[in-house]
């Protein structure tokens, strides 16, 4: 903290020139953590000291040491490398889910809010039904039907995570529907899809982004949960959830095997939660100073 505050400013100095110093906020911490996470995923081959899948049985279950910073697992694989590589499927899953849910949620919400009437009632009740489903349980059921794998995991989790976006977009569209600028747009003959996507969508997008960042923490936990239950990415690939599951077999004697990926999950969901919180504060004028 100390180096962030420069030498004691004189009173005149403080009055005339306010220098924007890098303040530590929730947003900046979250952003840095997320950047670290993404960097880990992208640069995994450069960062990881070992091949994550090489099994050296003679080095199995080693405690953390100078060579293996986080120790090794039951097959003698370096845990640090596996944790770093594990960021890849997690982030891939998260981005797949976002790509699937945000457009669907916005489309459903905006169209319901804009069209109104029976269409809105039916669509919003469907949304409520999906919203009431317990996410992980439904995802498990879907994965067991569709088969395990990254893509199916993403589909299953996306199926239950779009309703919040839809509800939010609908509420915003309802508030916007009576606004003067949409009336003005109608007076130019703009209507239907053009009005929905040209005029309403850009106004709903910022809050959808914030909402997405906030829900990412939960999605990461859910995807790790799928992995833990063996419903996510299949074993040889490093994936945090399945690594925790492996480590839990030996958790009383070799705690680090489960702790390393567990810490990574904690780190990732914390990063996205902080980012989401920070974004929300930033976008909400009531939180601003």
């Amino acid at each position: 903290m100390t180096q962030l505050i420069p030498d004691q400013p004189t009173q005149a100095d403080a009055a005339t020139s306010w220098r924007p110093t890098a303040r530590i906020t929730t947003l900046s911490i979250g952003t840095v953590l997320v950047i670290i996470l993404i960097a880990c995923a992208l640069l995994a081959p450069l960062l990881a000291p070992f091949d994550p899948n090489i099994q050296q049985i003679q080095f199995r279950l080693l405690p953390p040491s100078a060579e293996h910073w986080l120790g090794t697992d039951g097959f003698g694989r370096d845990l640090l490398s596996r944790v770093i590589y594990g960021a890849r499927p997690t982030l891939l899953l998260v981005s797949l889910i976002l790509i699937l849910t945000i457009p669907i949620g916005l489309l459903v919400g905006i169209s319901a809010g804009y069209i109104g009437g029976w269409y809105e009632r039916v669509i919003m009740r469907v949304t409520d039904v999906v919203l009431s489903l317990p996410s992980l349980v439904i995802a498990l059921a879907l994965v067991s039907i569709l088969g395990t794998g990254l893509m199916n995991g993403a589909l299953a989790l996306a199926f239950t995570s779009w309703p919040p976006f839809a509800r939010q977009a609908r509420a915003e569209t309802l508030a916007l529907r009576r606004s003067d600028y949409l009336a003005a747009a109608r007076m130019q003959g703009i209507g239907g899809l053009r009005l929905m996507f040209g005029h309403i969508l850009p106004l709903c997008l910022p809050s959808a982004v914030v909402r997405a960042a906030l829900s990412l923490g939960g999605i990461i936990l859910a995807s790790a949960g799928l992995g833990f239950l063996g419903m996510g990415v299949q074993p040889p690939t490093a994936e945090w959830g399945s690594m925790v599951a492996e480590g839990s077999k030996v958790i009383f004697d070799q705690w680090w095997v489960a702790a390393a990926p567990g810490g990574a999950i904690l780190f990732a969901s914390l990063a996205f939660n902080l980012l989401g919180d920070g974004l929300r504060d930033k976008m909400d004028p009531r939180h601003g100073k």
């Binding site: 600028y181 009336a183 747009a185 109608r186 007076m187 130019q188 003959g189 703009i190 005029h199």
Partner: protein, 300 residues
């Protein structure tokens, strides 16, 4: 270009007049409530003012002409035509063809009538994208030309700015640019100056007058400022509680014979009336006049 040519030809072929006969806006229900009662008027290529106090149905009339009545309201008329087009039978799609193309509307408050999430250039360009088949470059050119025509400085830079970066006067000019970019035949201005300060009012009205003149358009100006109206318009329609009470040339406003118009005209404070009590509307008299007048028709 062909489109433009056709439009011009259309303009010259038909001496376009907006005709409304028995225009009624009502709230449907078991006991329908009439908000605008049997209005009849014709507007050609002239400047017509629609005046009246708040709630007299001025804006509803204007909105009925755009086909954009607020939700439960419905419209009924024995004739409502725009040139050769019958407005009563239009479907939503055809309305959209009409709005912004043949009839445009400028609203009260520029601060609220521009979409805050889109740059100015995009918003001015949109009617062109919708109603014409011009290429991207031609559209850009036309946008700059239009922004220039409404007296905005540095259109190039302005195109990239967002509504919150403009002042009220600039915003109203942008609204005008949007309304006029497709060369409509009618402009409906719903109190275009009430959100502006006094100097700006004069400027914007001058601008509207000039553009309407240049482009040979019809103007329906909704206002409650009689002074303003008498300067800028040729004809005045006076409304009260949904009825058309009086219709007279704008320069005759000072010599109006109808008691309501007289009171409206004379109840403005000025130097001459300093220290005196301003006349107050005699509503009882108005009611009795209304019941006596033959305009009140039996319910159909």
């Amino acid at each position: 270009m062909a489109n433009d040519f056709e439009k011009n030809q259309q303009k010259t072929l038909h001496n376009d007049v907006l005709v409304a006969k028995d225009l009624t806006v009502y709230l449907p229900g078991p006991r329908p409530v009439e908000l605008v009662k049997s209005l009849s008027f014709r507007v050609g290529k002239e400047r017509v003012a629609l005046v009246g106090e708040s709630g007299s149905g001025k804006s509803l009339t204007a909105r009925a002409l755009m086909g954009l009545l607020p939700h439960p309201c419905e419209v009924r008329a024995s004739q409502l035509t725009l040139g050769d087009q019958d407005l009563l039978t239009l479907r939503e799609r055809q309305w959209n063809q009409l709005r912004g193309n043949r009839v445009s509307m400028v609203m009260q408050d520029p601060k609220h009538a521009l979409n805050p999430a889109q740059p100015i250039g995009w918003q001015v360009e949109e009617p062109l994208r919708l109603h014409t088949r011009l290429g991207r470059k031609e559209r850009q050119e036309k946008v700059l030309e239009m922004l220039n025509a409404v007296g905005l400085p540095d259109p190039q830079r302005l195109c990239k700015q967002y509504p919150h970066q403009l002042s009220g006067g600039m915003g109203q000019r942008v609204m005008l640019a949007i309304a006029l970019i497709n060369d409509p035949q009618w402009l409906i201005a719903d109190e275009p100056t009430s959100a502006l300060d006094f100097d700006m009012r004069e400027q914007v009205l001058d601008l509207i007058e000039r553009l309407v003149e240049q482009r040979n358009m019809g103007l329906i100006l909704i206002s409650h400022d009689l002074q303003q109206v008498s300067q800028f318009c040729e004809r005045v329609l006076v409304m009260y509680k949904g009825d058309l009470l009086d219709e007279l040339p704008a320069d005759q406003l000072a010599y109006a014979t109808h008691p309501y118009t007289q009171t409206l005209w004379s109840c403005r404070p000025s130097k001459l009336t300093h220290g005196e009590r301003l006349p107050v509307l005699d509503r009882a008299l108005l009611e009795s006049l209304k019941h006596a007048s033959p305009q009140q028709e039996p319910q159909p």
